[in-house]
Amino acid sequence: MTPAFADVLLRVEGLHKTYGSAPVLRGIDLTVQRGEVVVMVGPSGSGKSSFLRCLNRLEEPSAGHIYIDGIDIAAPGVKLPLIRRNIGMVFQHFNLFPHMTALGNVAEGPRTVLRMSRAEAEKRALDLLGKVGLSDKIHARPALLSGGQQQRVAIARALAMQPEIMLFDEVTSALDPELVAGVLGVMRKLAEEGMTMIVVTHEMEFARQVGDRIDMLEHGAIVEEGKPNDILRSPRHASTQRFLSSLLKERAT
């Protein structure tokens, strides 16, 4: 690793998750340095989304530890609203609040959670909407925005809490192809600014260009990990090879 990654922001140890008797995550260990961009890939059902949702406890881990800044947020008695402020999350289906404008969506976290004044919160929201290229849509309701625009509002909404780490859960999977680039562009800019990111995606070109590392998940376990170029050019594990070639076939059709 380059020396820029000096300190550990997130360390996951032995993370397990079961639904009833079905195991979804089977002992995941992962360390993310401050400023690092980790791309998680894997076939559907491999547990990528569950993993991300365990990281901010939208789902309850069955066992294991999640340390952020050295504090185990999977421990009992943790104040979830407090730890979640610091972890931004962007969802596949945007999940904007439809009764609020773009500005209202982005200002909502600072206003309600951080108790900022309306003026302060809206100033922050305006800056962020400008950053994601939506200065002209601040008063639009989500229903009037394209999927790509909604997703960029959702990114701004998460950034408004000034989190230390951002989680992206297949954020371009529900978008029309021509809208994907705009969202990925925003994410690339974030990465360049040094944001720590865990990105679940099937966009291999993004993984190659922006990712510092790829982690391949299968059946709830990390089966391969490495630099994007190494993994994409010469995957060692059979399931990584299978997964990558299935992606290529999908592209070709």
């Binding site: 939208l58 979640r84 402020r85 809490m161």
Partner: protein, 220 residues
């Protein structure tokens, strides 16, 4: 021999009947207000952990399935013996209607709340909102708008159902009608008049509810 209609009995006593309208409106408004407020905690209880939600389920199923007339009589006659305090007929009527209506409105609220996509809750919680903030800022503002037409329908039914309170002596429109009918020996004319008054009052309300339905549908 054919019946000789005599509408003068109706015209002469119209002020007495119109007097009853104000009590009808008071009973409707008070019961509605109480149920709108009480329905929310019942709905939230029903949506919470199974260990406590059964309380709300028992309440809702009990009061939805008791005939309103039975409930009105029971609150008026039996409840005072149990709690050692006698309410006026009007207050008893409002209590009975509210017990019944709260059960229905709680279910309407619950439907509204569960209709909000769970993704919004995830997003709000991920921002760091507490459950209370989530409900106050995200779920309830949308749920209330969605259930407004259903609440409007409840209002119209309630407006008509207040006529039941005549049986315990609440001087609302139906009761006044019975009094006048007995006094004048003209029940046919008087009850026809009462029916027309109910209709003239309820129909515009129903139209209002329809308007609400269409208005909110377009917005969705």
């Amino acid at each position: 021999m054919t019946y000789q209609w005599d509408w003068s009995a109706l015209w002469d006593n119209l002020p007495l009947l119109l007097d009853g309208i104000s009590t009808t409106v008071v009973a409707t408004a008070a019961s509605m207000a109480a149920s709108l407020i009480l329905g929310l905690p019942v709905a939230l209880l029903r949506l919470s952990r199974p260990a406590v939600s059964w309380l709300a389920t028992v309440y809702i199923e009990l009061f939805r399935n008791l005939p309103l007339l039975v409930l009105v009589f029971w609150v008026f006659t039996a409840l005072p013996l149990i709690i050692g305090y006698t309410f006026s007929p009007l207050a008893s009527g409002i209590i009975a209607l509210s017990l019944n209506l709260t059960a229905f409105i709680a279910e309407i609220y619950r439907a509204g709340i569960t209709s909000i996509a769970p993704g919004q809750s995830h997003a709000a919680l991920a921002l760091g909102m507490t459950r209370v903030q989530l409900y106050k800022r995200i779920i309830l503002p949308q749920a209330v708008v969605r259930v407004l037409p259903a609440l409007g329908s409840m209002w119209v039914s309630l407006f008509k159902d207040t006529s039941i309170l005549a049986v315990i002596g609440v001087a609302e429109l139906m009761y006044q009608g019975r009094m006048v009918a007995t006094d004048t020996y003209r029940p046919l004319e008087i009850f026809t008049g009462v029916a027309i008054i109910y209709y003239l009052l309820a129909y515009p309300q129903a139209l209002g509810v329809n308007w609400l339905y269409h208005r909110l549908q377009v917005q969705e």
